[in-house]
């Protein structure tokens, strides 16, 4: 379960940030099978899935943590706008311990539309 992600300049490499407490199993799996699928869902039910190959991982640094902070705030705002009650949205988005974290980088090969409804599962690129 990641908190925040960043797309690199080449628009192909993506780094997701996973709390260290959760990362060990994930890293073990990635070491044995380099394929990764990342589901991205917005509060509005808009959703995408990225599939690709694992590249590398390292602990998150200060810049990345600052990036995560900014993403959390906008996630809270979008959850409230989508209709989540404050009592749920706030603990849900702000309550996840995101540091210490692991930055997991992968090369995206396919992007799928996952928003529920017509077109779900379509390969976008």
């Amino acid at each position: 379960m990641a908190v925040g992600a960043a797309v690199h300049h080449d628009r192909r490499t993506v780094t997701v940030f996973v709390p260290t407490a959760r990362a060990s199993r994930l890293l073990r799996d990635l070491a044995s099978n380099g394929r990764i699928a990342v589901g991205v869902s917005l509060a509005s039910h808009e959703a995408y899935q990225l599939k690709g190959t694992y590249v590398s991982s390292k602990p998150t640094d200060d810049a990345e943590r600052a990036h995560q902070e900014a993403r959390r705030n906008s996630l809270l705002a979008s959850a409230l706008e989508a209709g989540y009650p404050e009592a749920i949205a706030r603990p849900l988005t702000m309550g996840l311990a995101y540091t210490p974290g692991v930055a997991i980088t992968f090369r995206a090969e396919e992007v799928f539309l996952q928003t529920p409804g017509p077109g779900a599962g379509t390969l976008l690129s």
Binding site: M1, A37, S41, G95, L96, A97, F112, P116, G121
Partner: protein, 144 residues
């Protein structure tokens, strides 16, 4: 056997969306968000899949799935490891799920359009509460 404790039940009310991950036989993973994981009994859960064909195809090749639910009371996350048992199109579990979908569909003008196709029943092989993940609620109170 009773793998699912009572405290996980609030996480299975659909208040916070969940996620399910499956994997094809050749090892390609697939992740999707789902609106609700339904509690069947202490050893089983049910999923209602309306749009996610890739998940269904994976399950046919490899019956293992991982599901992740969050409790709307404690906001703790639970990782569940599942094994597909079968799909039901009738029976008490199907009916409970079908009635809920029917009730909401009728309100949003989808009566007869959005219907439960099947209830996918899974046996829970492991249930782990994620630890060390929460920032205490007192530290994230809204600024007054």
């Amino acid at each position: 056997m009773g793998i699912l404790p009572d405290e996980i039940k609030p996480a299975m009310q659909g208040v916070i969306p969940s996620h399910v991950v499956t994997c094809s036989r050749d090892g390609t993973p697939n992740a999707s968000a789902i609106s609700q994981v339904y509690y069947v009994d202490a050893d089983h859960v049910a999923l209602s899949h309306q749009f996610f064909n890739k998940t269904k195809r994976n399950i046919e090749e490899n019956p293992r799935a991982a599901v992740w639910v969050i409790s709307p009371e404690t906001f703790e996350a639970w990782d569940l490891e599942l094994e597909f048992v079968g799909s039901e199109t009738s029976g008490p579990v199907f009916e409970v799920m079908e009635m809920q979908i029917e009730a909401i569909a009728s309100i949003v003008g989808m009566k007869g359009i959005f219907k439960l196709r099947a209830a996918d029943i899974f046996r829970v092989t492991a249930a782990t509460k994620a630890v060390g993940e929460r920032i205490p609620l007192t530290e994230i109170r809204a600024p007054r």
